[in-house]
């Protein structure tokens, strides 16, 4: 049987791939055929991983981004898949207490970093299309908080995740001219350091989710592999929601 979901021979780059959803999808990309995956992260990975290269980088600064891309360029001539996954959240107990620093860091990493990281990776992604005559793929990991509002006072997080979706739509129209297809995924509650509620109180969190459970590594892998493989070639600038139905009941 012809496998339209295969990632055989692909080389991928994932930002923030050492923990949480990033860690799940690094494993998923390798498990679905990727030759090599680069994890660009500020945190060291906890476990040893085959076919994964870790590059330590501070993605909050353009220097950090440039440094990471230069390191990739030392070993790779082109990149087939980029997943802009690195992100942070930060809330305040009340509206009055929300600080400028919380806004700046969160909005920078969640919105500015995907833009400039993709810009610096543009040459490598374009080269992949020219060499292989198949679309290279960029996937931005947003959040259902970019579509609807939860009760946390994470103004920067909600705004930046919504902004990322809109930026995805605009960038996709430019990038497709160079054979690069960009889309976004909005995950719901996946257990991670960032979503401690889903990690530490899975049972309680699951009660709020129509499907009755938190997200699994297979759930996020399914979405990323669908978009990254030939299967997702005609999906462009789109938002794929993977949330067990939460967004429909808010």
């Amino acid at each position: 049987m012809r496998n339209i979901f295969s990632l055989d021979g692909r080389v991928a780059v994932v930002t923030g791939g050492s923990s949480g959803i990033g860690e799940m999808l690094v494993k998923g990309l390798v498990g679905n055929g990727c030759d090599r995956v680069y994890d660009i992260s500020v945190h060291e990975p906890v476990a040893e991983r085959t076919r994964v290269t870790f590059i330590k980088a501070d993605l909050l600064t353009l220097e950090g981004i440039d440094e990471a891309v230069s390191k990739i360029e030392e070993t790779e001539k082109h990149i087939d898949i980029l997943v802009n996954n690195a992100g942070i959240s930060g809330g305040a107990p009340s509206f009055e207490e929300f600080s400028e620093r919380q806004w700046d860091q969160v909005v920078d990493l969640n919105m500015k970093t995907p833009l400039f990281f993709t810009q610096r990776m543009h040459k490598l992604l374009k080269k992949s299309y020219e060499t292989n005559k198949r679309l290279s793929k960029v996937i931005n990991i947003s959040s259902i908080n970019g579509l609807s509002i939860d009760r946390d006072r994470t103004y920067g997080y909600h705004a930046s995740k919504a902004g990322l979706l809109h930026m995805t739509r605009q960038m996709s129209l430019d990038l497709i001219k160079d054979g690069i297809s960009m889309n976004a995924i909005c995950p719901g509650a996946f257990p991670s350091n960032m979503n401690r509620q889903a990690r530490d109180y899975a049972h309680k969190t699951s009660e709020q989710i129509p499907v009755g459970r938190t997200g699994s590594p297979d759930d996020i892998t399914g979405a990323v592999v669908y978009l990254a493989s030939q299967a997702g070639d005609y999906v462009l600038g789109s938002t794929l929601v993977v949330d067990g139905g939460v967004n429909n009941i808010r």
């Binding site: 979405a223 462009l236 429909n248």
Partner: protein, 263 residues
């Protein structure tokens, strides 16, 4: 290889308002591993023939898995006939794809095909879909939770109003997307995941582009090509397989970016 996207052992039902289009999806699902695919359509369709002998024998194998059920899905009698015929053959249905897209000038007929039929069929097949979620009753695929899947297909006319005045068609397309979300919330308690797919301009029905305009139309699509069989089959396979188990009420747009541009 990962089995995340496999449709092995699944039984699927496709409803179809346009002869040809449903068969294309059926062929794709059978290729992706589905055990049997039922196509509900008014008229029978001749299976595809190709020049290559080897390819033809593979195709013949695929078509052995596809079963046509002649019925009119716009009437209660037709839907009852469909249900009776299938429940006589199958203890359960894993995947229901409502792809009855019909375009004409008459309001009532279009609404019947594109909105009423998918909703009524989804309700009617609830028992068979439910049966697929229990490995003891249905086809035992694995010991882990099996979800039944309902996937509703619409076109980009349901997202952006088209230049032509096809009020019934575009409204019914928008309507089915919204109905999918309501069904998603209601049916998940039965372990049935409902989602939807919007397709753009394809080299085949339902949104077949007139060959004379093809170049002009293609230039306006950001992806610079029309959609083809693999694009729609891949989206359905993703949602219908284990990979799409968390996509409750998810809406996928498969249009090469055409709904992202203005005008």
């Amino acid at each position: 290889m990962s089995t995340l996207f496999s449709l092995d052992n699944r039984v699927a039902l496709l409803t179809c308002g346009l002869t040809g289009y449903g068969w294309m999806i059926a062929e794709g699902l059978a290729e992706q591993g589905a055990k049997r695919v039922y196509v509900a359509d008014k008229e029978p369709c001749t299976p595809r023939t190709v020049l290559d002998e080897e390819e033809q024998s593979q195709l013949d194998e695929i078509y052995k898995k596809i079963i046509h059920i002649q019925c009119d899905i716009t009437t209660e009698e037709g839907r009852e006939k469909l249900f009776c015929e299938i429940s006589a053959l199958e203890p359960s249905i894993n995947i229901l794809v409502n792809s009855s897209l019909y375009n004409s000038e008459g309001w009532e007929e279009v609404i019947k095909y594109n909105l009423e039929a998918p909703i009524k069929i989804t309700e009617k097949f609830l028992p068979l879909l439910k049966a697929s979620t229990n490995p003891d009753e249905g086809t035992s695929i694995s010991t882990e939770q099996m979800y039944g899947k309902v996937i509703n297909i619409s076109t980009v006319d349901g997202i952006n109003p088209p230049q032509v005045a096809n009020f019934a068609f575009s409204s019914s397309n928008a309507g089915i997307n919204h109905a999918s979300k309501s069904f998603a919330v209601q049916y998940i308690r039965h372990k049935i995941v409902v989602s939807s797919i919007t397709v753009g301009l394809f080299n085949t029905t339902p949104n077949e582009v007139n060959p004379a305009n093809r170049l002009q139309v293609t230039q306006r699509i950001p992806a610079k090509r029309l959609g083809h069989k693999d694009d729609i089959v891949a989206a359905i396979t993703y949602l219908a397989s284990r990979a799409g188990d968390y996509c409750v009420g998810t809406h996928i747009v498969v249009d090469g970016g055409v709904s992202e541009i203005r005008g």
